[in-house]
């Protein structure tokens, strides 16, 4: 199965057919990732959400749905970006246990500061630091699995760069994020465990190609801790994003989320829509 995705990705990479483009220089805004921060899909990036420059602010909203074999995650969120310097975000997770019944809700509040650079123009990658405070609303399952806390803080450092024309003339974007976390499955299964209750360093990455000013294709990888000893897997996805205008984007991805709370091989479609209100 993975081979098929790779082949599709490679074919898209080789494709010389470019749809007529009459747009803007995309690459400064990105999307809102699954925890609400400006980023890709699973991974926060150094870019702030929105197209604001150093003289402007922006407000973004998004909705994301990830439907895998035994679970469904619904995310609603919003972010404000101020003068391309600071981003504040809020997101609501509703995690439906579609096979077992029941749901787990979680609120996530995030902040990110751009430390250096411009994703397109600076010599070195744009660099940002961020935090995500996660507050689990339904902690029955987390407690039953032995997690220590029902809230937790993630810290991360991200580097993101767009290389103009670097991929056979197409713009190439990459991101690397280092995150300190003790969240179990994003925090939906609580934070830490009696046997492993420290923040651990997790690496996350994204790579994408902009086939024209409106269409991006890429892949993401997110390393995850296994505090609960349930074999929590790293996550990855391949995505296609369509950005018809600066005020609307839609992303379709195939997400491989591995083992979640003992249920193996959780994979399925990731769909996200988002946009900039100002």
């Amino acid at each position: 199965m993975r081979g098929t995705y790779c082949a599709v990705l490679a074919l898209l990479t080789l494709s010389q057919n470019v749809i007529a483009d009459e747009g803007k220089l995309i690459g400064t805004a990105g999307l809102n990732q699954i925890e609400g921060a400006g980023g890709g899909g699973l991974v926060p990036w150094a870019t702030l959400s929105g197209y604001d420059s150093q003289e402007q602010t922006s407000l973004n909203v998004f909705a994301t749905n990830v439907n895998v074999d035994d679970y469904r995650l619904q995310v609603l969120g919003s972010s404000v970006s101020l003068y391309d310097r600071v981003e504040v975000s809020a997101a609501r997770h509703t995690f439906d246990l579609t096979s077992l019944g029941g749901e787990i809700r979680q609120n996530i509040y995030g902040a990110k500061v751009r430390l250096y650079g411009d994703v397109v123009y600076s010599q070195y990658p744009q660099l940002s630091a961020g935090v995500q405070y996660k507050d689990l609303q339904d902690d029955t399952i987390a407690n039953a699995l032995g997690s220590t806390d029902s809230s937790g803080l993630d810290y991360y450092l991200s580097a993101t760069k767009v290389h103009l024309g670097a991929a056979a003339g197409y713009n190439l974007v990459w991101n690397v994020t280092a995150r300190m976390t003790k969240a179990n499955q994003l925090g939906l299964l609580g934070f830490g465990h009696a046997t492993q209750d420290n923040h651990e360093l997790m690496m996350e990455g994204s790579v994408g190609i902009l086939f024209n000013r409106h269409l991006a294709v890429g892949a993401e990888y997110r390393q995850k801790p296994d505090n609960l000893g349930l074999g929590e897997d790293d996550w990855w996805d391949v995505f296609v994003t369509y950005i018809p205008s600066k005020s609307f984007n839609v992303t379709l991805a195939w997400a491989e989320l591995g083992s979640i709370a003992g249920a193996q091989g959780q994979d399925g479609l990731y769909l996200s829509i988002g946009g900039q209100l100002w």
Partner: protein
Amino acid sequence: MVKCVSSMLIILALAGCATTQQSLYDELGGKQTIAAIVDNFITEIQYDAEILPYFEGSDIARFRDKLEEQLCDVADGPCDYTGDTMAQVHAGMAITEHDFNLTVDLLINAMTQAGVPHRVQNKLLARLAPMRKDMLYK
């Protein structure tokens, strides 16, 4: 997954090699296309209420000549840029990031109208991008 990404990168590298035989000047379509880009760019600026004021009192004929020469030069064409440095030209203009980005959009429109393919547009933008630091907030 790692294998997939690395094979993608190899493909990209090979594709990159295959297309670097001719100069960017030739890929653009030479003197004629560069002249069309600059003409279109001037028209785009004329119709943009935010950018036009930056050109108040400019000698448009000289701007046209020097920009054609500069684009020819950065694209490895048979020209040497003889105009002022970007720092000299933009000194005192106090160009904001917003207005800079907007002007890049106008240049992209100008290239699109001149029939320059997306991938060739990106290559030219990549050569111009390092000049941004001499233009912003000066």
